[in-house]
Assembly symmetry: C2
DNA sequence: ACCGTAGGCCAACAACTGTTGACACACAAC
DNA sequence: GTTGTGTGTCAACAGTTGTTGGCCTACGGT
């Protein structure tokens, strides 16, 4: 057990824990869940593999800690309704480039049931919530959020995972100008227009 | 060596080869590349694991054979320019539901470099080729094809891999009516309209 | 009827995996 | 200084993986 008498006193091992988490995110993002071995992660963090087990219990526990993620979606009630799409795609691009946690989660979700479940939860708890803040028909909210997810995740998949050359090379600003109208229509438009 | 004297004579083992391939596609589609073990595939095909090695050389060779895929994209020169988007999304949906090979390739591409390379090739050889048949500026062809791929693969990812409930439950016809305009704009429109 | 060979199974290998327990050191409290 | 606890290493475990070679069987051409 690692339960100090004074619960909030900084532990001497905090640096090690952080190093493990950083290495884990890198490896999970680069290799996916099953190819990212505990031994490799421990080597990156320059500690013994058994430390990973002591601090995170198991490989699944480590992944759960490493894939903790907050989309930090902006409050759409403070955004002009005509700019929902642009604000969202800009936010996603920035969030994605700056933090490899989402890439790790995306890669792992393809093959690991637990990671897929976590991805569904992230979608249901955060994206659906953000979409439902402004007044659309509640009956269509989930579907609109799903469509947004399909375009945003597809963008991430082609750009960061499979790395299709045209999607890797394209200027982010041009990406925004192409994708923003798509998200805008998914959020506020009607089908078949 | 399995080189018969009369090269095109049907081999007695053709049924076994086909059974292996079918089981391999199922397992790769359901579990991804690393979780799909040769032993499990062989058990599904009711043969010994060593047979897989004899007929396909290695796990990578088996995957290469199982992930052989032709998108069978329609000839867009025979389609009214205003219906490119609708024709494409209908075709993709049908192709996806009827054959799990693409799901196998998609899942594997997340974690296996070879599968990702194959996905890039499929994109470059087949989708870019189809897009360039009609007269858009050649300089933008690859980008337009990339955007189409991002939406189509994102749809597949959310619907068949992660299985986001709203994307799984949505009626295919409604999916068409939402996504067709997106693809249409990626193919023939201008950004920021 | 004979015999080469393709089809198939079995057992084992070496490498790698997540995971565990025993042991050594260092620091802080008393 | 002693003691206890948190931090870290080492070696080994049991299971699984891709892969290999030997052996038996049964078909098909002659």
């Amino acid at each position: 057990m690692t339960a100090p008498a004074h619960p909030n006193r900084p532990r001497r091992s905090d640096a090690t824990r952080a190093a493990i988490l950083r290495a884990a995110r890198e490896r999970f993002a680069a290799d996916g869940y099953e190819r990212a071995t505990i031994r490799a992660i421990a080597a990156d963090a320059r500690i013994d593999p058994s430390m990973v087990m002591r601090y995170y219990g198991s490989k699944e526990g480590l992944f759960a800690a490493a894939a903790e993620f907050d989309l930090r979606l902006p409050d759409l009630t403070a955004v002009p309704p005509g700019q929902f799409g642009e604000v969202l795609i800009r936010h996603f691009l920035a969030r994605w480039e700056g933090d490899e946690t989402l890439a790790a989660l995306l890669r792992a979700a393809s093959t690991n049931p637990g990671a897929a479940e976590r991805m569904r939860g992230l979608f249901a708890d955060q994206l659906v919530a953000a979409v439902s803040t402004f007044g659309t028909d509640p009956a269509t909210t989930a579907r609109r959020a799903g469509l947004v997810a399909s375009q945003v995740l597809g963008l991430a998949f082609t750009r960061y995972i499979v790395r299709l050359p045209p999607m890797v090379d394209v200027d982010p600003e041009e990406l925004v100008s192409w994708v923003a109208p798509t998200l805008q229509r998914y959020l506020t438009g009607l089908p078949e227009n």
